[in-house]
């Protein structure tokens, strides 16, 4: 039995790629022949994947299983539509195009195409979302509810544990200032401007010995420039740092040397950095939108109104109330257990068991 996965890209440190790699590792452990095909890939991806054109030779075999990861509009959906394999779609969510409207017209076009295409992908044996939020979007797009389920992401935390933290970054972040952290791409739906506004209140009103660190790629220059302009206008231009894409060592230093993780995102399909923050005992403050409440699972701090001065006071309280901080990080550690490798294997086995004719496929993942 062969299982093929098609992804848009296979890169190091990318949530979709990590998910595909985790599935690939488990399939091989279960004794199945597993392949990954990608439209594009980086150096890391080249070690594991073939270009998707090579999938053609397997598309006609009805015994094979195709897992199609859908995260952005990419031409390789044709392989999925034309394939005669049994099909599983994993939906990682596509950002509503409205978020990009004033920043990046090409992204508006691609996101619109991507979301419009979703109903056409409904003809499959099983459709999984990273979160129930994503699964509900699948049902809204016309996927039969009984054929949908949830396969949460298994964050590769051991990868971060296995690297040394970047010494320069660690030294810089460990200079005694209070560090607020955000990790992820700087794109409009993440609402980084609101993180800056919260930081401005905290820095001006509560703690001047503080800095804000953004670690993640800066793919949209217009948005990045607007963020820089806003920070400068607020008088905190030299306290807000955009590190760009950082190495695993750099990321580890950010998590270990920061004091709070802040998310103001208004659209998330899962949000892996929340779990990474849980892992590094960083108290998380997150706006309750998209799949964020589901991923947090009752741990950390969730808020529904962006009252920046009020949230700055909450940060101040967390800073001096060690007991409250400990209660939060303890709850976060407990929540993280739901995303460990064993849980992931159990859920995947339950999801694919029927299609792969495997023993132990007893749990029903469909909601």
């Amino acid at each position: 039995m062969r299982v093929h996965q098609i992804v848009p890209r296979l890169d190091a440190s990318d949530a979709v790629s990590n998910q595909a790699m985790a599935i690939h590792a488990l399939l091989e452990r279960w004794g199945l022949e597993s392949r990954i095909f990608a439209y594009d890939m980086d150096e890391y991806g080249r070690r594991y994947a073939s270009f998707d054109t090579a999938y053609h030779e397997f598309a006609g075999d009805e015994e094979d299983l195709l897992i199609f990861h859908y995260a952005l509009y990419c031409d390789n959906y044709h392989y999925y539509l034309e394939s005669r394999n049994r099909k599983v779609l994993i939906y990682h969510n596509i950002t509503p195009p409205g978020f990009y409207e004033h920043f990046y017209p090409e992204a508006v076009r691609l996101c619109t195409l991507g979301r419009d295409l979703l109903p056409q992908l409904a003809a499959c044996d099983l459709a999984l979302g990273d979160s129930d939020f994503n699964r509900r979007e699948l049902v809204e797009a016309g996927f039969p509810a009984e054929k949908t389920g949830v396969l949460p992401i298994n964050p590769p935390l051991d990868k971060l544990d296995g690297v040394e933290e970047d010494p320069d970054l660690a030294r810089w972040l460990g200079d005694g200032k209070t560090n607020l952290l955000y990790v992820g791409r700087a794109v409009p739906n993440k609402k980084l401007e609101d993180v800056i506004k919260l930081f401005c209140c905290y820095h001006r009103g509560v703690n001047a010995r503080s800095r804000l660190v953004f670690a993640g790629p800066l793919p949209i220059n217009t948005y990045y420039s607007a963020l820089l302009s806003l920070a400068r206008r607020m008088g905190i231009g030299d306290r807000v740092f955009f590190l760009g894409k950082v190495s695993d060592g750099g990321l580890k230093a950010c998590y270990r040397r920061s004091h709070y993780y802040v998310s103001m995102s208004e659209h998330e399909g899962f949000c892996v950095p929340l779990l990474e923050s849980f892992h590094f005992d960083l108290p998380v403050l997150a706006f309750a939108a998209g799949a964020v409440p589901e991923t947090m699972g009752g741990a950390g701090v969730l808020f529904t109104i962006k009252d920046f001065p009020l949230l700055a006071e909450l940060l101040e309280r967390l800073g001096r109330d060690a007991f409250l901080r400990e209660r939060i990080t303890a709850a976060q550690r407990e929540r993280l257990e739901a995303f460990d490798s064993m849980s992931f294997e159990r859920t995947l086995r339950a999801a694919l068991g029927g299609l792969l004719s495997m023993r132990g496929a007893t749990e029903d993942v469909a909601v």
Partner: protein, 316 residues
């Protein structure tokens, strides 16, 4: 609503503290207005999007029927394979060069935007002079002075300056917050005043006594400076000739005996914002020297951290 570990938090205490900070003036009206500001306004008003221009251009070309990419089959031209390939190659070259230019623009955009927001936006805001009460005609004349970037001093300069003279210190022009912090640590900083609101905002964010005014001498006139021992003109270029005269006269009158006035000689500081050394009209050394002497100062050259100053000491 705020939930901590899934339980609703009583926000009353936090709200009361936030209100108290508001009342104490830590969150001023300008900052509260910025908290309400939509980032889209920032883009529309202050970020020039080359991506949008390129995108519009590409769409317009496509709508006009221009084919930017050659067909996949290079030998489809029936006139002869060679000719078909040449046409195709030329079209491909044309496409690639357009893309190269576009990508070049995109890469430059960040730099461009940074420059753009630093120069045009900054001066625009200062031209409008929120709180300054200056008319636009006069503001336009002074644009160069206000928009000029302040010199950035090395670490040694603020340390050396903070050790000069005795008594309280006043600073005109803010060359980064390090110098203010050094004076503040020695409990000497009375006030820093600048015509650049960004420099002032940075200082205020660190709770340093700094004030923005388009005409600094007007602020100094109201200052109660009984123990004034040091006046630093870190960026005399932010003042007009008349204002320099006023500030020097004020210092000559108020400084204690043995008090010091320090004027930075910024000529030669090449990192001016526009990349054009002529953009900032530096005050000539002889002019500054004569000004100090006229108001009773003994003048000599003084150097700290590679930066040259004119140091005037008030005689008996």
């Amino acid at each position: 609503m705020i939930e901590v570990n899934g339980k609703e938090l009583d926000e009353h205490g936090l709200s009361a503290k936030a209100d108290a900070r508001r009342r104490a003036g830590l969150y001023d009206a300008r900052m509260l207005a910025l908290l309400e500001r939509d980032i889209v306004e920032e883009v529309e008003e202050h970020v020039f999007s080359m991506i949008q221009v390129v995108y519009d251009l590409q769409r317009a070309l496509e709508d006009a029927g221009v084919r930017l990419e050659p067909p996949g089959d290079l030998s489809s031209d029936k006139q002869g394979e060679g000719k078909g390939r040449l046409k195709s190659l030329l079209r491909r070259l044309q496409t690639r060069s357009i893309r190269a230019v576009n990508e070049g623009y995109v890469q430059q955009q960040e730099k461009f935007n940074t420059f753009f927001t630093k120069s045009v936006d900054l001066s625009y805001r200062q031209l409008c002079g929120a709180g300054g009460g200056i008319d636009l005609g006069e503001a336009a004349e002074r644009r160069d002075l206000w928009a000029s970037r302040r010199p950035e001093w090395s670490e040694e300069t603020p340390q050396a300056i903070s050790g000069l003279g005795k008594g309280r210190a006043v600073m005109v022009g803010i060359p980064g917050v390090a110098c203010l912090e050094a004076l503040q640590e020695g409990k000497r900083l009375l006030l820093a005043v600048d015509t650049c609101d960004v420099a002032v905002a940075e200082a205020q964010a660190r709770f340093l006594p700094a004030w923005f005014h388009p005409r600094p001498p007007e602020v100094l006139a109201y200052l109660k400076a009984e123990d004034l021992g040091l006046v630093v003109l870190a960026f005399p270029e932010c003042l007009t000739g008349g204002e320099l005269e006023d500030v020097t006269a004020w210092a000559g009158y108020l400084l204690l005996e043995g008090g010091i006035i320090l004027a930075a000689l910024n000529q030669g500081w090449s990192e001016v914002m526009a990349g054009d050394p002529g953009f900032v009209r530096y005050w000539p050394r002889r002019f500054l020297e004569a000004l100090m002497r006229r108001h009773g100062f003994e003048v000599e050259e003084w150097e700290a951290g590679g930066h040259v100053f004119l140091k005037g000491e008030k005689g008996a």
